[in-house]
């Protein structure tokens, strides 16, 4: 449990290693020289057999050592792979031999008339002999693989037994409780003191320079790390006393980061100290082991203390995560820190006993004491009354929680007293270490859930920054919140699941084996599944996607924008490039995933049937979309009329086109309609457009005067084009009026409404000035009878005037 640090580093190093290993496997050269092939593989198999023998011996010698067993299994799996590779190496030669034998044909029956030439029969003999040899060698490889698999199964059984033993092994405490034990322990302490003293004196006297250098380096690195950490994450871990009501999410994130960051910094610093001392040769092997043990104690105690402090926050109750009163919170922090310290020291003491070869009884007695103390500490936590009810009286933990603590605490004490020392140790270790890890991970999970809640991300520092500096809207922020919560969850799983598994006595080798298995694929029924291949495919596709988008943006924004390319063409090219890029990315990713495209052909065959029946509309729209992009009857921003729909084109995609009407309604029009029907485009080649304004004038007016007035005012309008010239048309005679029409051309048809409007105003103004009268139809006036509502109240009702005064009339507006 003390090499937690090393194991963490191991996990981090594991992934690239695995990937590298997978790559190396593929690259293995397979063309060994044909003549020496058999002898080469025979000697390779001999080597592998020797390795297997060695591993079998290791297993026999270390049946009690879990870590060694796991290493042995990794070695065996490696041997298995190489055995298989040795077998596969024969394949080209075997197919050669088979092909040649087939060419030679079967040996003629004895006594056949046409005896074959000696050359042929010799060659056949030689080939058959070589094939037999290869077959024998392959048989040996097969036997070896069976044996190695048997050993792997044996290791699994051994490890299962080991764990059962650990929990059920019983020591006789009575035999060990004697005056001898006390002297043993005292002796152990004395020799430990002497050895450490001697090593330290040696280090100071002969290695003082290295010692100084390593210490200074470690401190320097720690200082830089803490300085950078403060600069980068300072805001995340600081509790601001000025904040009245810190939000749940900021409390969570402060608790999480203020546990994680200093702990990681401390672990890095201590690992650096240990590593530097070892690489400078300051410490001998014993001292290095002691130092690692001591580091373990410090890390455990610090982690537990830090975590409990950040959850309970007794100094700033506003920032606490669980509503426990400050005074009992302080007690709980002390108790759990002490528990961490005891568990850590127990492990440290075990290292000392191991190094000094002390008698078993001293180890057992020390562990007994540690188990009893930790049991008492756990029970004491259960005794604390952490809550306060409305009357201000202290309230204990909920009953179930107390019961669990008492059960664990007393259980550990009783188990230790009865001689089940390992079981008691296991209990207290799990409580401290697994408890710490699970609690930290749980806080992280809570935080990620809070972030993914509606509006949760906007409250975080990153969300605030995006909102104010980048102007990201709330809906986008919400999506980012979900995304970041997914990322946090994945990171938590990557970090904490292995740590908890180590804690539960799984070895790094176990996890390595699982990962290898996951990378190579496993089989469920007849369906075989290879996550690594699929992940590779997805990764390649994502890369292709981003490259396409990047290329698209570069082409559109840099090349085509500079080249003054027409926006419609730009849009078409961008869309086509996008789809082509995606198709290429999909194809590459499928082949990167190692998939057979013939499987895809099967799927495509099924799809084509579906297209025939159900998808023909979609496909027709799709093809129409391609035609639209190529032919470009309209482009984004054009004013089009298709059937009853008239509006501006907003987006042309492959299935449908978005048109925004002037009422700002977005109409999504399937592309096939746009291809098959008539589409009017006001702005196809140019934006020139004609506008008409009908004007009716009474017969009393002079039509020449009218025409001149209309012509003048039309020409005077700044948006009306001189060429083509505007015209005034005398269109006809109606019952009441002479009908004129003003026709004018404008450069941008979009401004037509405005121009028409201006012209009408100008017509009225000019006619008033000139005394021309506009025609209108006289309609007989409709008599509107407004009945006065008679007051039918009593006679002595107050007069109306008084009423209005009493209640002022309500004004509208």
């Amino acid at each position: 449990m003390f090499d937690l640090i090393r194991r963490t580093a191991f996990v981090i190093l594991l992934l690239p290693f695995l990937i590298g290993a997978a790559a190396a496997q593929d690259a293995e050269p397979q063309q060994a020289a044909v003549s020496t092939l058999v002898s080469e593989q025979v000697s390779a198999l001999a080597r592998l057999t020797a390795r297997t023998d060695a591993v079998a011996n290791t297993i026999a010698a270390n049946a009690e050592d879990d870590a060694k067993l796991v290493d042995a299994r990794l070695e065996l799996e490696d041997i298995l792979r190489e055995t298989l590779a040795a077998g596969v190496a024969f394949r080209p030669r075997l197919s050669e031999i088979n092909a040649r034998l087939q060419e030679l044909g079967p040996a003629p029956a004895t006594g056949a008339e046409a005896a074959e030439s000696e050359l042929v029969s010799n060659e056949r003999k030689a080939l058959t002999a070589e094939k037999a040899e290869i077959n024998v060698t392959l048989g040996k490889a097969e036997d070896l693989s069976v044996r190695v698999n048997g050993l792997i199964n044996k290791i699994a059984n051994l490890r299962r037994d080991l764990f059962t033993n650990l929990l059920t092994k019983r020591y006789s405490i009575r035999d060990m409780l004697s005056s001898q034990v006390v002297t043993d322990i005292l002796n152990e302490g004395e020799s430990f003191r002497q050895r450490v003293g001697a090593s330290l004196r040696f280090a100071f006297r002969f290695k003082s320079q290295s010692l100084m250098l390593a210490t200074v380096l470690a401190f320097g690195a720690a200082f830089i790390a803490s300085f950078l950490g403060r600069r980068l994450f300072g805001r995340m871990v600081r509790r601001d006393p000025a904040v009245e009501q810190p939000s749940y999410i900021s409390r969570l994130s402060v608790a999480f980061w203020s546990t994680l960051l200093p702990s990681v910094a401390l672990i890095v610093f201590l690992a650096l100290v240990s590593g530097l001392y070892q690489s400078y040769g300051v410490l001998n092997q014993d001292m290095a082991a002691y130092l690692d043990g001591l580091i373990g104690v410090i890390v455990i105690a610090f982690l537990v203390n830090r975590l409990s402090r950040s959850i309970l926050s007794p100094d700033m109750p506003k920032w606490r995560l669980i509503a426990i009163e400050p005074a009992p919170a302080r007690i709980i922090i002390w108790l759990v820190t002490a528990l961490g310290l005891v568990v850590g020291l127990d492990g440290f003491a075990a290292i000392i006993s191991d190094r000094l070869n002390s008698p078993l009884s001293t180890t057992i007695i020390k562990s007994l004491v540690a188990a009893v103390i930790s049991g008492l500490l756990i029970v004491s936590v259960g005794q604390v009354k952490p809550f306060v009810d409305e009357t201000g009286k202290s309230r204990p933990w909920p009953l179930w929680f107390r019961l669990v603590l008492f059960l664990l605490g007393f259980g550990s004490i009783i188990a230790a007293m009865a001689g089940f020392i390992s079981l008691a140790q296991f209990i207290s270790q799990q409580i401290v270490l697994t408890g710490t890890l699970v609690t930290t991970a749980y806080i992280g999970l809570l935080a990620s859930r809070a972030i993914s809640d509606e509006g949760g991300f906007a409250e975080t520092a990153a969300g605030q920054w995006m909102k104010t500096d980048k102007g990201v809207d709330d809906a986008k922020l919400d999506q980012y919140g979900v995304l970041s919560s997914v990322i946090i969850n994945v990171l938590l799983a990557l970090l904490f699941v292995p740590l908890v598994l180590f804690q539960l006595r799984f070895q790094p080798g176990d996890i390595a084996a699982w990962l290898t298995k996951a990378a190579n694929g496993f089989q469920i029924g007849t369906f075989s599944f290879s996550p690594l291949a699929i992940l590779t495919g997805i990764g390649v596709f994502a890369l292709g996607y981003f490259l396409t988008r990047y290329f698209q943006r570069w082409l559109d924004g840099t090349v085509m924008a500079r080249g003054r390319v027409d926006p419609g063409v730009r849009n078409s090219i961008r869309t086509v490039v996008g789809y082509t890029g995606l198709a290429i990315a999909a194809l590459i990713s499928i082949s990167a995933a190692g998939l057979d495209l013939s499987n895809l052909a099967l799927v495509a065959g099924g799809l084509s049937l579906g297209i025939g029946f159900g998808l023909q509309n979609i496909v027709s729209n799709f093809v129409s979309g391609l035609i639209l992009l190529a032919e470009r009857p309209f482009k984004v921003g054009d004013w089009v009329e298709a059937g009853a729909i008239s509006g501006t084109v907003r987006k042309i995609s492959v299935r449908a086109t978005e048109i925004e009407t002037f009422q700002r309604q977005t109409v999504i029009l399937p592309n096939s309609i746009l291809i098959n029907g008539a589409v009017g485009n006001w702005t196809h080649r140019n934006k020139l457009g004609r506008i008409e304004v009908p004007v009716n004038v009474v017969y009393a007016s002079d039509p020449h005067k009218v025409r001149n007035a209309l012509m003048d005012l039309t020409k005077a309008h700044p948006l009306v084009l001189r060429n083509p010239e505007p015209a005034v048309l005398f269109q006809g005679f109606s019952d009441t009026a002479m009908q004129f029409e003003v026709r004018a051309f404008v450069a941008d048809v979009g401004t037509g409404g405005q121009v028409r409007n201006d012209l009408r105003f100008a017509v009225v103004d000019a006619f008033r000035r000139e005394g021309i009268e506009l025609a209108y139809t006289l309609r007989p006036p409709v008599a509107v009878v407004v009945e006065e509502k008679q007051q039918s109240g009593p006679v002595d009702a107050p007069p109306a005037e008084a009423k209005t005064k009493a209640r002022p009339p309500r004004r509208r507006g």
């Binding site: 298995l80 792979r81 298989l84 040795a86 077998g87 596969v88 024969f90 394949r91 075997l94 197919s95 088979n98 094939k131 290869i134 077959n135 392959l138 048989g139 490889a141 097969e142 693989s145 069976v146 190695v148 698999n149 048997g150 792997i152 199964n153 990201v472 986008k476 999506q479 995304l483 298995k517 190579n520 694929g521 496993f522 089989q523 007849t526 369906f527 075989s528 599944f529 290879s530 291949a533 699929i534 495919g537 997805i538 596709f541 994502a542 996607y545 988008r549 995606l582 999909a586 990713s589 499928i590 995933a593 190692g594 998939l595 057979d596 499987n599 895809l600 799927v603």
Partner: protein, 93 residues
């Protein structure tokens, strides 16, 4: 910026497509003869006889194995090969 959901959708699509076609990893054997054939497969420490009816195809051996063909020839497979048995002779494609 606004492309994230699109991207997620595309990746999901690609992943499902990959999962759909992802069965290319086991070795398979097909019997082209008109009579049943038996091959012996040693995989994971145990020997197993697999009987193949006429024209039948089986999948086996996800992580590498040794195979003995009906005529006694041996082969080592890494998983992913296709074996065709005709006239009792196994041939790796």
């Amino acid at each position: 910026m606004g492309r994230t959901p699109d991207m997620v959708k595309s990746i999901l699509l690609a992943a499902s497509l990959l999962a759909l076609t992802g069965s290319a990893y086991a070795a398979s054997a097909v019997n082209l003869d008109s009579e049943p054939r038996t091959i012996t497969v040693t995989e994971g420490g145990s020997k197993q006889e697999i009987a193949l009816g006429a024209g039948e195809t089986v999948q086996f051996c996800a992580n590498g194995c040794f195979v003995t063909m009906p005529n006694g020839d041996r082969e080592a497979l890494t998983g992913g090969e296709t074996i065709e048995i005709s006239g009792g002779v196994g041939r790796i494609k």
